[in-house]
Amino acid sequence: MSVPLGTLPRWVNFGLLPLLNVAVAFAISGLVVLFIGENPIEAVKYLVAGALGDGEGIAFTLYYATNFIFTGLAVAVAFHGGLFNIGGEGQVYLGGLGVAFAALALDRYMPWYITAVLATAAAFAFGAAWAFIPAWLQAKRGSHIVITTIMFNFIAAALMVYLLVNVIKQPGNMSPQTRLFEEGGQLPKLGWLMQVFGLDIGAAPFNVSFLIALVAAFAVWLLIWRTRFGFEIRTMGTNATAAVYAGIPYVKTVVVTMLISGGLSGMMALNPVMGDAGKLQIDFPAGAGFVGIAVALMGRSHPVGIVIASILFGVLYQGGAALAFDMPNISREVIILIQGLVILFAGALEHMFRPALIVLFAPKPKSVAASAAGAA
């Protein structure tokens, strides 16, 4: 006789609850801003105006969002299989290597769309390969994937610095980076898309990889809810014993799930490497792998939720930069603090308000019972 857990209506679960979490994060951020001696209302104005006020701001917001969609999807796919992939950062980094190889090899001979196809495949393959060892260790030896993927982030960072400094650095250049990709190795900007809405992209690096990210989001939805393999991933993730009973091979499912997850992380590299910088640089992932975790949590591991959460984080990134510029008292560190609060409330404290909301919104009986009590 199990106790039925309070189930919330969908709009509360997927709408009100995340909104409430973000609102509380902002309220506390407001207190911090107040403490610094600035006006929180003004700060919000700058933040929103910077992120959404004009075409360039929006384009920057979407550029950042693109990163988070990829890494958020990566975390979500693994999460459906009961695996916590913390290694997005390293997988992105290695994905960048794949992108760079494809672009450096082809940019002088091929149009961008051919290069992009191969670069996407290479990014996926390199990201997946980086996830393979932790996956295999988890499947075969039971080494916890959280630990191994974190460790692989450090290994990736060290490996990439080594490669950029010693192997693929452009000769004669002071900084550890590859040469600039030619036109055939760069993704076109989405100025035309902005123009459809009457907006000007300005100098924002908003590019084709945003569309690739949306396609990836759809593909993940298909994979998880419409394919046999997705069914097996979800079975393994929700009830491992039932997966054994159902004859779902554990090793294969763990490994392939992690390859897909790592591959999606790797694909993120398209955006900053091929879509923005046009070269492979040190530290280009810039924490996006970790933001993916918060995005996946906030988006309830559903592609639609992930896209929305990614845009929110895009707003925080872009708006935060604008705010730091417009209010010198609010330093870059305060922006990171605000982002941290959002991650804290949307991610770690995700369930804090749930009990209260269950009391308020879980199917009517409360009020019926209350009236019954009144009658008695």
């Binding site: 106790v3 189930t7 419409r226 046999r228 393999f229 004859g247 019954a372």
Partner: protein, 515 residues
């Protein structure tokens, strides 16, 4: 109420208790009066609200409305501490004991009485001896719990409650884990407690126990208290009818079995658990087409491991499993997916942890294990239309309620969840069906349906291996009975052997007695 009652104030009185969980109305305006010094049975199907009601009395849940009177005094029971102070003790279905602690340590858990244990230990030891003298509960205070048989562990639970000054003892399905002999012993103890003036509330779904031990019985159905009877003035048939709300067949009607060729043959199978302890020890038997072979035994004697090994879920350390004359392993490994293709279907003992993914939609669970069947697929994609259509057919054929293939499986009742599993496995038209605890946590109406379905499957010429801890179920369904004890098959009693004989075998003392 009863003539023997000296004190007219009831020990416990519940007035208008009402409780909802979300959409489920678990207790509807319950009135119950339990006479002091009596054994009061509460009977009802699974999900009727018995456990909820007792949990409210014990302070685990709060009633949405209603009143609890203990000894005639209105009491707000906010947590189990309040209940214990009011003299209410509870013995849970699943024991709440620390397995590697001694009896003494378990009894003093939570009432250690100070930073140092010494004083508490002495006090508890003295009190225990007195309780043991008074009620005849003989348990060595220094024995380690995990080394005690289940019946004695239960006694420790009772001791715990008595040590805390319980005047009213609630027992929730106490015989589920006991052999018939242990159950008899328990009932003797309860009678003794009653003689000493304690009040006992016995929750069960077994009619036989109610008739054997209680003074008064209350029947619950769908959250309502539908009747209270003096046990002496009622019959099992009447109680069953009250529980279900209609007339029920208590016995399975079936004809003679017509066994065909051997379908499943288990040869010298040995299975060890994770710690290397032998759970199944060199077991051999056969199941023929058109017969139901029942494996009886007290829970934990290797039946579960045996079933899982045959189903390919648990690795056997030696021995062979042969189906239709062919070994089922592939290079020494048995794979559940391969077994399914060979026509072996498996209704697992634990549908919540193995047979179903509770957060999935009903239609998704109706293909679990068969997700690689081409008829559910379009290339790598699931053929959602075909899956849902298939689910609806099964829902209709097995009368699964509510008839909604998109509903989350957790929202079905136990009986309907079991029907989802049975429909999935039986509708594959398997040559051999493994069934574990087919009616655990299933209401009487559904039990009748499930039993009929299993018998008709047998009549279609399928081989069925049934594992159940319900001896009644084994006896009424099986054409042949094997009794398992400590990992071995200790005997094959005649199909119409009486309960006593099988019970002795289940306790591991049958062999000499039977031969």
């Amino acid at each position: 109420m009863t003539a023997s009652t000296l004190d007219p104030t009831p020990a416990i009185e519940l007035v208008g208790i009402d409780k909802r969980f979300g959409a489920v109305h678990a207790n509807k305006n319950i009135h119950l009066s339990v006479a002091k010094g009596s054994i009061h049975g509460i009977i009802g199907e699974n999900g009727a609200g018995k456990s909820t009601l007792m949990s409210i009395l014990y302070g685990f849940y709060h009633a949405d409305s209603g009143q609890i009177l203990v000894d005639g005094k209105d009491l707000k029971i906010t947590d189990s501490q309040t209940a214990i102070r009011a003299g209410i003790g509870m013995v849970h279905q699943h024991f709440m004991l620390v397995e590697n602690f001694s009896v003494l340590e378990n009894v003093m858990l939570g009432v250690e009485g100070g930073v140092l244990l010494k004083g508490g230990e002495t006090a508890v030891r003295g009190a225990l001896q007195q309780i043991e003298r008074e009620y005849g509960l003989d348990v060595d205070p220094d024995a380690i719990i995990e080394e005690l048989p289940v019946g004695k562990q239960q006694r420790v639970e009772i001791l715990k409650a008595l040590y805390r000054g319980a005047e009213v003892l609630i027992l929730d399905e106490p015989t589920g884990v006991l052999t018939p002999a242990e159950a008899d012993h328990l009932f003797k103890m309860l009678a003794q407690l009653k003689a000493q003036g304690k009040t006992v509330i016995l929750i069960t779904h077994k009619l036989r126990e109610i008739m054997a031990i209680t003074d008064t019985v209350s029947v619950m159905r769908r959250g309502e208290m539908v009747a209270t009877r003096k046990t002496a003035e009622t019959t099992m048939a009447e109680l069953a009818e009250l529980m279900v709300g209609r007339r029920v067949l208590l016995r399975v009607e079936k004809g003679e079995a017509k066994p065909g060729p051997v379908v499943l043959s288990v040869e010298n199978l040995t299975v060890k658990d994770g710690r290397g302890v032998t759970m199944v020890d060199n077991v051999s038997f056969e199941v023929r087409a058109g017969e139901i072979v029942g494996i009886a035994g007290v829970a934990g004697n290797g039946q579960s491991e045996l079933l899982e090994a045959i189903a390919g879920i648990r690795k056997a350390s030696s021995g062979r499993i042969v189906m239709n004359g062919e070994p089922v392993d592939r290079n020494g490994r048995i794979d559940p997916a391969l077994l399914r293709k060979k026509g072996l279907a498996h209704v697992p003992e634990d549908r919540h942890h193995m047979g179903l993914v509770l957060s999935f939609e009903e239609n998704e669970n109706s293909i679990l294990g068969y997700q690689d069947d081409p008829k559910y697929l379009k290339g790598p994609f699931l053929n959602i239309d075909a899956i849902r259509k298939d689910a609806i057919e099964k829902i209709e054929k097995y009368d699964i309620r509510p008839a909604d293939p998109r509903l989350k499986t957790a929202n079905f009742s136990g009986g309907n969840q079991q029907k989802i599993v049975l429909a999935r496995e039986i509708e594959r038209d398997p040559a051999c069906l493994l069934v574990g605890q087919p009616t655990r946590g299933v209401d009487i109406g559904a039990i009748e349906f499930i039993h009929k379905r299993l018998v008709s499957l047998r009549d279609e010429g399928k081989a069925i291996l049934l594992v159940s801890v319900e001896l009644d179920e084994i006896r009424s369904l099986s054409d042949r009975i094997l009794v398992m004890f400590a990992g071995t098959i200790v005997g094959e009693p005649a199909a119409h052997a009486d309960e006593q004989e099988i019970g002795l075998m289940m306790a591991g003392i049958g062999r000499e007695a039977a031969e």
